[in-house]
C-alpha cells in the first residue's frame, strides 16, 4: 500500500495479501504497548510475586488430561490406517481413552465405579461410532 498523497492510496495487487496483516500487526503491537503502559504494575507484580501457575492445580488430572488427549490423537490415525474407511481407528482408540480419562477423573475408585466406567467406555464410543459412521455416514479416523 502506497500513500501517494494522503489520503490517496494505491494498492499493489501482487503484495496486497500483506497489507491488512501488517496493519493489524501494528495495531496489535500498539494495543500491547497500551496494555503494558496502563497495567505494568499489576503485570510486574504478578510476574515477580506468588506462584506463576494457578494455585491449587490438580497436577495429575490436568497434565493427565493433556497427555491422554495427545496419545489419543496420535493413536487414532495410526490404528485407522490399518482399517481404512471403517472408522475403527476412532472406535479402538476411544475405548481405552474413555476408560483411562474416567479413571483419572474418578474420586472414589471402588470396584462398582470402575465397572461403571468400563461399561461406559465400551458402550459410548460404540454407539457414537455406529450412529455416525453407519446411520449418518460420516468419515471417522
Amino acid at each position: 500500500m502506497n500513500f501517494t498523497s494522503f489520503p490517496r492510496v494505491s494498492i499493489n495487487f501482487e503484495t496486497s495479501h500483506l497489507v491488512f496483516p501488517t496493519l493489524i500487526s501494528i495495531l496489535l503491537g500498539i494495543l500491547l504497548l497500551a496494555i503494558l503502559a496502563t497495567r505494568w504494575r499489576a503485570i510486574w507484580g504478578a510476574l515477580t510475586t506468588g506462584p506463576h501457575w494457578p494455585a491449587g492445580i490438580d497436577h495429575l488430572r490436568f497434565f493427565g488430561t493433556i497427555a491422554l488427549t495427545v496419545l489419543y490423537f496420535l493413536a487414532m490415525p495410526q490404528i485407522g490406517d490399518l482399517f481404512p474407511n471403517e472408522g475403527y481407528g476412532f472406535l479402538i482408540a476411544s475405548i481405552p481413552f474413555l476408560f483411562l480419562m474416567s479413571l483419572l477423573y474418578l474420586h472414589q475408585r471402588t470396584r462398582r465405579y470402575i465397572v461403571i466406567t468400563a461399561v461406559n467406555a465400551v458402550i459410548a464410543p460404540t454407539v457414537v461410532w455406529y450412529m455416525l459412521s453407519t446411520v449418518f455416514n460420516l468419515t471417522l479416523p
Binding site: 490517496r8 495479501h17 494495543l31 488430572r61 474416567s102
Partner: protein, 499 residues
C-alpha cells in the same frame, strides 16, 4: 406457505430432541449451549439445512434454558447466562421452594423466548432490507462497529479490543482467498505449514477448542469436583407454585425481555451481561429492593426472561448482517457454511422458506422447552447429579468427532482443537476475552476484503468517512461506543477507589 412442506415429522422430532439434549447440556454445570451446538454440529451434515437448523435451534433454546436448573438447585449457573438466577433462585431452594422457583424460571424463559422471537420476525427482514444498500465501505464499518461495541462491553476495553484484533490476526493465517478477490499468496506462516494451513484454521475446531476443550481443562485443573450438594435438594417443602406470582410482574417481564433481546443484538456481549443488567433494573425499579437476593421470584423472572430473550436477539445480526450476536450463533454460521449458504443481507430474501422454517423451529423449540421442563422438572433436576467422570470424557470424544468431520476427515483439524483448547485455557488465566477473540476470528477475513476492496475501488482513505450518510452514522455510533466504554471504565475505577 411453501415452507409448511419443510415441517415434516422429522423436523419436529429433531427440534424436540435438540431441545431435550440442550436442556441436559445446560443443566450440567460447566456445559453450555455453545458446547451443545458445537458437539452436535456434525450430526447436521447429512440432515439438510432445514432439519439441521431444527436440531441446532432446539439445542440453542434448550441449552440456554437448562442453565436455570443448577443455578436454582445448586447455586451454580449451568450456563453463564443464568448467573443472576442464582441470586434469588438458590435462597428459594434453601427455603424448600426449589420446585416453585424452577417453575417461575420456566415460565419466564418461555416469555423471554417468545418475545425475542416476535422481535426477530419483525426486525430481521427490515434490517436486512436496509443492509442491502451497504457497499464494502459500510460493511467494513459495520464490522468495525461490532468490534468496538463488543470491546466496549468487555470487562476492560483495552483487553477486549486486543482480544478481538488478535482474533482477526489469527484468522488471516493462510492464503489471501482467490475466490473472494485475493491474490492467493500465503502470509503469517512458514512454508512447511502450507499443506495444513493453506485455508487457515477451520472455524469449528477453533470454536470447539476455545469453548469446550478449554472448559474441560479448567475442570481438570480444579480436580473435576463433583456436585456434592446435589443429593440433598429439597424441591417442594415450602410454598407451592402458583401463577399469581406473576401478578404485577408484567413490566419486569417486558423490560427484561427487551434488555435480553437488545443485548443479543450486540455482538459478543453474551447472556451473563443480559442476566445481570435485567436483574439490576428489576431491583432498581422494585418497591422492595431489599428482598432481592433473599429469594424474591422477581429476580428469577428478570434473569430468566432476559437470557431467553437473547436467543432471538442474537439471531438478528446473524441473519440480516452476517455478524453473530453471541458465541452460539457464531457456531450456527458453521451450519450454514456446511450447506453452502452465506448469511448476510441477502439471506432472508433469497431463502424465504428456510427463514420461515427457522421461525417455526424457534417457536416449537420454546414450546418444547416449556413442556419438557415444566412437566418433567423433577427428573431434569436429577441431571445435575450425573457424574462428571462419565460426562467429560464423552464430551471430549464428541469434540474430536466434530473437529475431524468438519472437513470430511482432516487430522490437522483435531490438532487445531487441542491448540485452541490450550489457548482458551491460557486466555482464561491471563484474562484475555474469548468472545471478542472469536468474533474477530470469524469476521477477520471479511473485514480484510471489505477494507482492501474499498481502497482499491476508491483509492482514498477518506472514502470511509465520506461514502454516504450511513458511513457517517456508523462513525457516530463507533465514537459513542468508545466514549461510553471510556466513561464506564472511569466511573468504575472511581467507584472502586471510593469503596
Amino acid at each position: 406457505m411453501d415452507f409448511l412442506s419443510l415441517i415434516t415429522p422429522l423436523f419436529l422430532v429433531l427440534i424436540l430432541c435438540g431441545t431435550m439434549i440442550g436442556i441436559i447440556f445446560g443443566a450440567i454445570p460447566g456445559m453450555t449451549a455453545t458446547m451443545a451446538v458445537a458437539v452436535c454440529l456434525p450430526l447436521t451434515y447429512s440432515l439438510g439445512l432445514e432439519n439441521g437448523l431444527a436440531l441446532l435451534l432446539g439445542l440453542y433454546v434448550g441449552g440456554i434454558s437448562g442453565g436455570l436448573v443448577p443455578a436454582i438447585l445448586l447455586n451454580i449457573p449451568g450456563t453463564p447466562a443464568s448467573i443472576a438466577t442464582t441470586f434469588d433462585g438458590y435462597p428459594m431452594t434453601q427455603r424448600g421452594e426449589g420446585e416453585s422457583a424452577l417453575k417461575v424460571a420456566i415460565f419466564a424463559s418461555l416469555f423471554g423466548g417468545l418475545f425475542s422471537l416476535v422481535v426477530l420476525y419483525l426486525f430481521a427482514p427490515a434490517l436486512a432490507d436496509f443492509a442491502i444498500q451497504f457497499s464494502y465501505v459500510e460493511k467494513f464499518l459495520i464490522i468495525f462497529l461490532a468490534l468496538t461495541v463488543m470491546a466496549a462491553l468487555s470487562s476492560s476495553m483495552l483487553i477486549g479490543i486486543f482480544s478481538g484484533v488478535l482474533g482477526i490476526l489469527v484468522s488471516l493465517i493462510g492464503a489471501y482467498d482467490v475466490s473472494r478477490g485475493g491474490n492467493g499468496e500465503y502470509r503469517l506462516m512458514f512454508d512447511f505449514m502450507e499443506p495444513y494451513l493453506s485455508s487457515g484454521f477451520s472455524l469449528l475446531p477453533v470454536l470447539i477448542g476455545v469453548f469446550a476443550l478449554s472448559s474441560i481443562l479448567i475442570e481438570a485443573e480444579a480436580g473435576v469436583p463433583e456436585n456434592a450438594g446435589a443429593r440433598k435438594i429439597a424441591l417442594d417443602q415450602g410454598k407451592k407454585f402458583h401463577l399469581s406470582v406473576f401478578s404485577g410482574q408484567w413490566k419486569n417481564l417486558f423490560r427484561s425481555a427487551s434488555i435480553g433481546t437488545f443485548v443479543g443484538l450486540l455482538p459478543g456481549v453474551g447472556g451473563s451481561a443480559a442476566s445481570i443488567m435485567s436483574y439490576s433494573q428489576a431491583k432498581a425499579f422494585s418497591k422492595n429492593p431489599r428482598s432481592f437476593g433473599k429469594g424474591n421470584p422477581a429476580g428469577i423472572i428478570a434473569s430468566e426472561t432476559s437470557n431467553n430473550g437473547l436467543t432471538g436477539g442474537a439471531l438478528i445480526p446473524l441473519l440480516s448482517l452476517g455478524i453473530p450476536g453471541d458465541a452460539t450463533t457464531a457456531i450456527l454460521i458453521g451450519a450454514f457454511t456446511l450447506q453452502g449458504i452465506q448469511v448476510g443481507p441477502l439471506f432472508i430474501g433469497d431463502n424465504l422458506e428456510i427463514w420461515n422454517a427457522m421461525i417455526v423451529a424457534m417457536l416449537f423449540a420454546n414450546v418444547c422447552m416449556f413442556a419438557i421442563m415444566y412437566f418433567a422438572i423433577r427428573h431434569i433436576a436429577k441431571i445435575v447429579t450425573v457424574p462428571k467422570y462419565i460426562l467429560l470424557p464423552i464430551i471430549l470424544m464428541m469434540c474430536v468427532v466434530g473437529s475431524y468431520t468438519i472437513n470430511y476427515g482432516i487430522m490437522f483439524d483435531v490438532w487445531t482443537l487441542l491448540i485452541f483448547g490450550l489457548f482458551g485455557y491460557l486466555a482464561y488465566h491471563i484474562g484475555l476475552e474469548i468472545a471478542p477473540f472469536v468474533i474477530g476470528f470469524i469476521l477477520g477475513p471479511s473485514a480484510e476484503i471489505y477494507f482492501l476492496k474499498s481502497l482499491e475501488s476508491f483509492g482514498t482513505v477518506s472514502i470511509f468517512f465520506t461514502k454516504s450518510w450511513i458511513a457517517v452514522v456508523l462513525w457516530v455510533l463507533i465514537a459513542i461506543s468508545i466514549g461510553l466504554s471510556v466513561w464506564m471504565s472511569r466511573s468504575g475505577a472511581r467507584h472502586h477507589d471510593e469503596t
